[in-house]
Symmetry: C2
Subunit: 335 residues, 2 copies
C-alpha cells in the first residue's frame, strides 16, 4: 500500500507514522509531506529513513491512502484533489466532519459508515475518546442525556502547545519568571483555560459544540441531548472527561462495568480500592481509552451514571483512530 502522511512533522503526523509501523499496516511505500520549512529533512521511520517532501497540487502523488494531519483550510483545498488522484483520504481536520456525504468514523462505533467512501473524516479528539465509552452504554441502556466536562491536554494544540506548556513551567519554576503565551490565549502553566476554539453565538465554544455535533453524527442519534464544558489543563497528551449520563432504562455500576469490560477500544480501569482509575499518567501512550470511577448518579434516580474516561489525545484522539479507519476500510484500496 502506498501511504502518504501529510503534516508529517507535527505532533499527530509523527504519531501517524509510528502507529502505521506499530500496527503493521501493509505499507509498501511511505511518503511524508510537510511545509516548505521542513522540506528535504530526512527523518527515521519504522519504514526506513524518509525525506520530507512538499506537496505539489499540480501533480498530486499516486497514493492508495492519504492520512491528513493538517489544517482544515489545507484539507478543504486539497483533500478532494488527492481523492481524484486515486487515494482514499482520512482527514484529521474538522473540514468535512459535518458534511452529509462524508462519513465521520470511530471504527469501534460506526465502521460500516466508511464503506465505499474515499474521503473519511476523523473526529475531534475529545469526541473520539468519549464515543468508544458512550456507544456500548447506549446499546445496553439507551442514552437520554449526556453531560461532559473535559480536562484537555496541551497536545490538543499540537507540538507547539506542548512546548509552550513546558517552556512556561520552566520559566516559572526555574527562573521565577512569567510564562509567555502565543499558542494558548492565556498562559497555561498552573492555570486552567475554559476556552478551546472560538466562541459560538450560543455561548458554547466550537470545541464544545464539536462534541455535541460529532457525537450525534457518529452515534446516529441526531437528537441526543448532550452538552460539554471544554477546559484546557496543564497536562501533556491525554484528555480526560467527567461524564454524567441519564439512561432510558435502569442502569447499575455493575452492569455498566460489565458492558465496558468487553467494549472494544476501552480499558476498564476501575479498582478504586487500589487507587486505579483513569489518569493521563497511565493512559498516555496507550491505544485504549481508560474508563473508570463508575458509580450511580442519584441526580437521575436509578437511571443516572457517572464515569471518568482518559485517552491519549494523539492516539485514540487522532492518529490511532485514523489508522484504524484505514484498517477497517472494507473495500480494497485502488491499486
Amino acid at each position: 500500500m502506498r501511504v502518504g502522511v501529510f503534516g508529517a512533522t507535527g505532533a499527530v503526523g509523527k504519531e501517524l507514522v509510528q502507529v502505521l509501523g506499530d500496527r503493521g499496516y501493509p505499507v509498501t511505500e511511505l511518503r511524508l509531506f510537510a511545509s516548505n520549512r521542513s522540506a528535504g529533512t530526512r527523518i527515521p521511520t519504522p519504514f526506513g529513513e524518509k525525506t520530507i517532501e512538499v506537496y505539489d497540487p499540480a501533480s498530486p502523488p499516486k497514493l492508495d491512502l492519504a492520512l491528513l494531519a493538517v489544517s482544515g483550510d489545507w484539507s478543504k483545498a486539497h483533500a478532494r484533489e488527492l481523492v481524484a488522484a486515486g487515494a482514499v483520504v482520512v482527514d484529521n481536520s474538522s473540514a468535512f466532519r459535518l458534511e452529509k456525504d462524508v462519513p465521520l468514523v470511530v471504527p469501534e462505533v460506526n465502521a460500516a459508515a466508511a464503506e465505499g467512501a474515499r474521503l473519511i473524516a476523523n473526529p475531534n479528539c475529545t469526541t473520539a475518546i468519549l464515543a468508544v465509552a458512550l456507544a456500548p452504554l447506549h446499546a445496553e441502556f439507551g442514552l437520554r442525556r449526556v453531560i461532559v466536562s473535559t480536562y484537555q491536554a496541551s497536545s490538543g494544540a499540537g507540538a507547539e502547545g506542548m512546548q509552550e506548556l513546558e517552556d512556561g513551567l520552566r520559566e516559572m519554576l526555574v527562573n521565577g519568571g512569567q510564562p509567555r503565551n502565543s499558542v494558548f490565549r492565556h498562559p497555561l502553566p498552573m492555570n486552567l483555560i475554559p476556552h478551546i476554539d472560538s466562541f459560538q453565538p450560543n455561548g458554547y465554544t466550537r470545541e464544545e459544540m464539536k462534541v455535541t455535533w460529532e457525537t450525534r453524527k457518529i452515534m446516529g442519534l441526531p437528537d441526543l441531548l448532550i452538552s460539554c464544558t471544554a477546559v484546557r489543563v496543564p497536562t501533556l497528551r491525554a484528555h480526560a472527561e467527567a461524564v454524567t449520563i441519564e439512561t432510558e432504562r435502569p442502569v447499575t455500576p455493575e452492569a455498566a462495568r460489565r458492558v465496558l469490560s468487553t467494549a472494544p477500544g476501552v480499558k476498564l480501569t476501575d479498582d478504586v480500592e487500589n487507587a486505579i482509575y483513569p489518569m493521563p499518567l497511565t493512559a498516555s501512550g496507550r491505544y485504549d481509552v481508560e474508563a473508570g470511577r463508575i458509580r450511580s448518579n442519584p441526580v437521575f434516580g436509578d437511571r443516572g451514571l457517572d464515569f471518568f474516561v482518559c485517552g491519549d489525545q494523539l492516539l485514540k484522539g487522532a492518529a490511532l483512530n485514523a489508522v484504524q479507519i484505514a484498517e477497517a476500510l472494507p473495500v480494497k484500496l485502488a491499486a
Copy 2:
C-alpha cells in the same frame, strides 16, 4: 479582640493571619499555635512579629476567637476545650460540619445560622466556592438538579501539596526525572487524579460527598439533587468547577448574569468576546469567586444552565470564609 490561630504555619493558617490583617479585623492580641516542630519560631505578621506557641490542653489560652486550621482529629480533641475556655471557635476541618448543633456557614448564604453559636464549622473549600454562586441562582430560579465537575488545586492538600507539585515539575522539566509523590496518591505533575479523600461505599469519594452533604446543609435544602466529580489538577491554589444546573423555573443566561452580577462574594467574569472567564490565573489571591461561561444548557430545555466558577482555595475556600464568619457573628464576643 484576642485571637488565636491554630495551625498557623500551614497554608491556610498563614492566610488566616494575612486576611485578619488585610480586612482590619479588630485584633488586640494575636497568638499563633502550631506543632512542636515550629515552636519558638518568630514570624512577622500584620500585627507585629509573633512567636509560635504549642497549645497546652491543661491550660487553654484565654481567647475571644480561635481560628482552627488543623486536622479533624485535633479539632475533635480540642475545639470544645477552647469554647469552654471562653473562645468562639471557627473550625476549618471537617470534624463538626455535619453535626446537628454546629452551624456550617458561608456568610453570603446563611450568616444567620451562626447566631449565638460558639462553635462554627467552615465548609469544604469546593463547597464554599460553589455555594456563593449557587445560592443566588436558587433564590431566583429554584434548583432542581446540580451536577459539578471540579478542577482542584494542589493547595487543597496544604503547603506540602503545593511543594510536591513544584518539586515534581522541576524534576521532570529540569532533570528529566520522575516526579516523586507522598502527599498525593499518584504523581500530580502533568497528571490528573480523580481521587480526593477516601472512597465511600457508593463509589463517590468523601470529597465529592462533602459537596453534596455540605451544600445541602448550608443552603437548607436537605433533598437537593446534587452530585460531584472531584479531580485534582496540577495547579497551585485556585479551585475551578464546571457546574450544570436544572432549575425549577425557566432561566436565561441574561437573567443568571443579572443575578450573579450583584451576588455578594461573586465577581461576574463573563466576557467571552474578550477572552474573560474564570481562571486560576485571575482568581488566585482574590477574595471573590469568579463566575462566568454562563450559557443555556439545552439538555434541560429552558431550565438548564451551565457556568464555570473559580475561587482561591486558601481564601474563599478556607481562610477568608473563616474570618468572614468571625466578622458576621452578631453577638459580642466574650470579653
